[in-house]
């Protein structure tokens, strides 16, 4: 008996969509190239200028420090929130309520203007002697104000993300750890958090990318991050659009790098969870490239007599 050839489903709609997209893309590319008001030469001129690169550095540094503050404080807040102590859990609840309930821009401006409220910051016994005192304007530099504003706000969000992650871990894990004589904090650090990471990382990656862009708010407190640097140039030269394009391109590059980083971190914490590791981007690229002319391995064309085809 002759094997019957099975014909896979055709998808003419896909080809049609691709054609439409290509036409639209061509029109867009044409606009980009032919419209002189984009001033691509100016974009090229400033893309790697010192001011812009310094701004990029500041943006990265700010994102890193603010996220570090946010993650560390957020995890602590989440652990407090879930602690059996009603005191700790209420403190954590109040913190999240306050910092999530007011806009981050308002918090930034508030920290920057802290001197108006407390001209001096001092450490000492309440109503008693003072050990240490500093003028607020000297202590709260634009950078400190930015870290306080962004980091403390971020902690409130990371606390909720971490709480969701911690609660996603099976109760049996806690019992097993306790039965082995592990104490609460050790259990949290060694058993719960590593498993919670799988749930925490994707939204935390989102938060990091969000933070990278939110740092542009900091231009309001005259901190020379990327947007402020671009503004400082175009306020002088009036080349507003090209400089905003420069800033946007840099933001895109940075978020792309973060996206790739997130993928590898997720892969690391997925250990012991997925039966096989998902391929890295490089592995996928290589596989697609080298199997370009033969059918890809995960979708073998099945034929009726073949028994090996459909089984993976």
């Amino acid at each position: 008996m002759k094997p019957i050839k099975a014909v896979p489903l055709r998808h003419p709609g896909r080809w049609l969509t691709v054609a439409v997209i290509l036409v639209l893309a061509a029109m867009f590319a044409n606009a980009l190239v032919s419209n002189p008001l984009f001033q691509w030469d100016v974009v090229g001129q400033y893309f790697t200028s010192e001011t812009i690169l310094k701004g990029v550095g500041q943006t990265l540094y700010l994102t890193f420090v603010a996220m570090a503050v946010g993650i560390v404080l957020g995890v602590i807040l989440a652990v407090m929130r879930l602690s059996p102590s009603p005191v700790l859990s209420t403190i954590s609840w109040a913190y999240i309520w306050f910092f999530r309930g007011t806009p981050v821009l308002v918090q930034l401006i508030f920290w920057f203007n802290l001197a108006a409220l407390f001209p001096e910051l001092s450490i000492g016994v309440p109503f008693g002697p003072t050990f240490f005192s500093v003028e607020t304007n000297a202590a709260i530099t634009p950078f400190i104000a930015a870290i306080l504003g962004l980091g403390l706000n971020e902690a409130a969000y990371m606390a909720e993300i971490s709480r969701a992650g911690i609660q996603s871990v099976n109760d049996g894990q806690v019992e097993a750890a306790h039965a082995l004589g592990m104490r609460r904090l050790l259990t949290m650090r060694r058993i719960i958090l590593p498993q919670a990471m799988r749930v925490i990382i994707p939204p935390a990656g989102n938060e990091t990318i969000g933070m990278l862009k939110t740092t542009s708010l900091v231009s309001i407190v005259t901190l020379p991050e990327l947007l402020y640097s671009a503004q400082s140039i175009y306020s002088r030269t009036f080349e507003t659009i090209p400089l905003l394009i420069v800033a946007s391109l840099w933001y895109l590059i940075m978020t792309s790098v973060l996206t790739v980083g997130q993928y590898y971190i997720e892969r690391h914490f997925g250990k012991g969870n997925a039966r096989t590791m998902p391929p890295t981007a490089w592995q996928r690229l290589r596989r697609n490239f080298f199997t370009f002319h033969s059918p890809p391995p995960e979708a073998p064309a099945p034929s009726v007599t073949s028994s090996s085809g459909g089984i993976r």
Binding site: G181, M182, R190, P194, G272
Partner: protein
């Protein structure tokens, strides 16, 4: 006559209005295999969990190796212990769960090594050597570097037993260790437990495996509704139950 490993006097426990343990009185001798059987909801698992203070008792006295569990007695009252002291006491009591509860982010060997290193602060080299020996004892030397999700249920439960043994406990608690297993995997876990009993480990086993209880058990208690209905040598209780409720239960579980 050696001192009992576990003593329970008038242990009471309730969840809200539901009284789950209603005056449990029993003694488990050192080196004996003590089986707890009964219908679901009879309080047998809850009682087992009280023995390492995973559940708090409301009244009564429960002690392991002469020391009260979870409480300190002073002036005729019981005061709950600090977490640190509860944890220290738990190091002496191994527990095996129905759902294995291996740590999924660690290999089989790392699962076994975790607590001795982190809790008892023993050196990694010493612990590794002991962990490898234990894996060998449960027949899984070749699975040392495998993550739990690549192990069958029976293999996971054997690793879980090795993990509990790595803390060198005086007492082992088994909470329906074979109930979550496919029938053909039950035997391998029971074999490990049988071997452990032969080595003289004191074991309290909540189980539905009447064959195991009859063959390995030194003592059997039948519980229902939070009280002990009857107790004795497994062969006697299983072959010749005195109470109607015991008979009714056994007629349902025995083939």
């Amino acid at each position: 006559m050696t001192a009992p490993m576990v003593t329970s006097e008038q242990v009471h426990k309730s969840f809200g209005h539901l009284q789950v343990l209603n005056g449990i009185e029993l003694e488990v001798a050192t080196g004996e295999v003590f089986c707890l059987v009964g219908p679901s909801g009879s309080g047998k698992s809850t009682f087992l969990r009280c023995i390492n203070h995973l559940e708090r008792i409301d009244a009564g006295r429960l002690s392991v190796d002469g020391e009260l569990i979870g409480y300190r007695e002073h002036g005729g009252k019981l005061y709950e212990l600090h977490e640190k002291d509860v944890a220290r006491k738990r190091q002496e009591i191994g527990m095996v769960f129905q759902s294995f509860n291996l740590f999924p982010h660690m290999t089989a060997l790392a699962n076994i090594m975790e607590a001795p290193i982190r809790v008892k602060r023993e050196s990694a080299a010493v612990v590794r050597e002991r962990a490898e020996r234990l894996l060998d004892r449960v027949g899984l030397s070749h699975k040392a570097d495998v993550y739990p999700n690549r192990l069958s249920g029976g293999q996971q439960q054997r690793v879980a037993i090795a993990r509990a043994l790595a803390m060198e406990p005086k007492l082992m608690l088994f909470d329906e260790p074979t109930s979550a297993l496919d029938p053909e995997l039950v035997g391998e876990v029971l074999d490990v437990m049988r071997q452990l009993a032969d080595d003289g480990m004191t074991m309290i086993v909540v189980t539905h495996e009447m064959g195991f209880a009859r063959e390995v058990g030194d003592n059997l208690v039948f519980m229902d509704g939070g009280v002990i209905i009857e107790s004795g040598h497994p062969r006697d209780v299983l072959a010749n139950p005195q109470h109607e409720r015991t008979r009714a239960f056994l007629s349902k579980v025995l083939m």
